[in-house]
């Protein structure tokens, strides 16, 4: 008798209700759901003030200023999964909600202002 690979022939058990596998999968944070368009998904992220990563093909479709977002100018290239098309890319652009951005980055403007304050403090002989 010929033997082949064992196959699990147990019947699938489908449980009606809220804990079906499909519904459980929907809760998994795997990126944009199949049913959502990229634009709507990105807007959801922005509504939650989340960091948005976009690959070079998706980034030009996003208008950060309209949503109170700023591009990470300190680090114009970021590594990660594009929130638009779910592709791992080494040349993503990162966008931050403006208020969060100030908490997370030392911007060139801040660095220049600090340098000026330091120069002034040394010139006048004391720091504030």
């Amino acid at each position: 008798m010929e033997t082949g690979p064992e196959v699990n022939k147990s019947p699938a058990v489908i449980i009606a209700g809220k804990n079906t596998e499909a519904k459980e999968r929907m809760k998994e944070p795997r990126g944009r759901p199949v049913a959502r368009t990229s634009g709507g998904w990105i807007h959801d992220l922005c509504a939650q003030k989340a960091v948005v990563l976009l690959c070079p093909l998706c980034t030009h479709k996003f208008n950060p200023g309209r949503l109170g977002y700023v591009k990470d100018r300190c680090f114009p290239i970021a590594i990660g999964k594009c929130d638009g098309c779910d592709v791992m890319d080494n040349h993503c652009s990162a966008y931050f909600w403006e208020e969060t951005y100030k908490e997370l980055r030392d911007t060139p403007e801040e660095q220049r202002a600090r340098r000026k304050r330091r120069d002034k403090a040394i010139r006048i002989g004391h720091f504030d």
């Binding site: 959801d44 939650q48 720091f127």
Partner: protein, 235 residues
């Protein structure tokens, strides 16, 4: 904690991770504890097995709603973006104590030193121990100069490389328990976002000090790297 750069100059690497609680933006997270639901928050004195630093507070399907951490069935899972570069440099404000936003205390010279080698103020530099830390001048002829502390007493910090000018009564100085590479610890403030400057040299969480930005009482910083990182060479 602000992302400053990476040692190698590479781009920040973002990953979305499940979390074990509602972690603040800018706080470091560590490997998940047994029984926890995801990456766990660090403590003020330990960042062992660090994963990275939280960059946002989640993103999922509930449009317009920040994702709270919830274990209630039916609620969406809290997932945060984290910068995971093991060589990332983090910038932390120096605070006088565990409360973030507390300015450093001004230390005023009470006894002059004509050799520029001793900074004598009313502060006890031996408790908490500041030996091998840093002292810098915030007003007086030596303003802007810093030196490594090489010995301490109950009233003074001594340096080997003299300040360029004599220290005179009324000059003000600051000190920090940190020095480049020599103090592999930075203690975090209670909100885990910045550095506690009031601790002894060699105590705190696992950071290696890369550099110091020494300015006034409310704008001095330590630049540090998480040395016990799960994605680094040594964990």
């Amino acid at each position: 904690m602000k992302f400053y750069n990476t040692i190698g100059g590479s781009a920040p690497h973002y990953r979305r991770y499940k979390v074990a609680a509602a972690h603040a933006v800018g706080a470091p997270v560590i490997r998940t504890a047994a029984g926890a639901t995801g990456v766990t928050i660090a403590t003020t004195t330990s960042t062992a097995n660090a994963i990275g630093v939280v960059q946002d507070n989640g993103a999922d399907y509930n449009a317009g709603v920040n994702i709270p951490y919830s274990t209630t069935q039916g609620d969406v899972e809290a997932v945060y973006k984290v910068i995971i570069n093991p060589d990332a440099i983090w910038r932390l404000l120096l605070n006088e104590g565990a409360t973030d936003g507390t300015a450093l205390t001004v230390r005023t010279v009470s006894t002059a030193a004509s050799d520029g080698l001793v900074v004598t103020t009313g502060f006890d530099y031996s408790s908490p121990q500041m030996d091998e830390g840093t002292v810098w001048c915030t007003s007086g002829a030596n303003v802007g100069q810093s030196r490594k502390i090489t010995s301490t007493s109950t009233t003074a910090a001594t340096v080997i490389m003299p300040f360029l000018n004599d220290t005179v009564v009324g000059d003000t100085f600051q000190h920090a328990p940190y020095f480049v590479g020599n103090s592999p610890f930075v203690q975090l403030t209670s909100n885990l976002l910045n550095a506690d400057n009031s601790i002894a040299v060699g105590s705190g969480a696992g950071f290696s000090v890369l550099d110091l930005e020494l300015n006034g009482v409310s704008d001095s910083y330590v630049l540090a790297i998480l040395i016990d990182h799960v994605f680094g060479v040594s964990t």
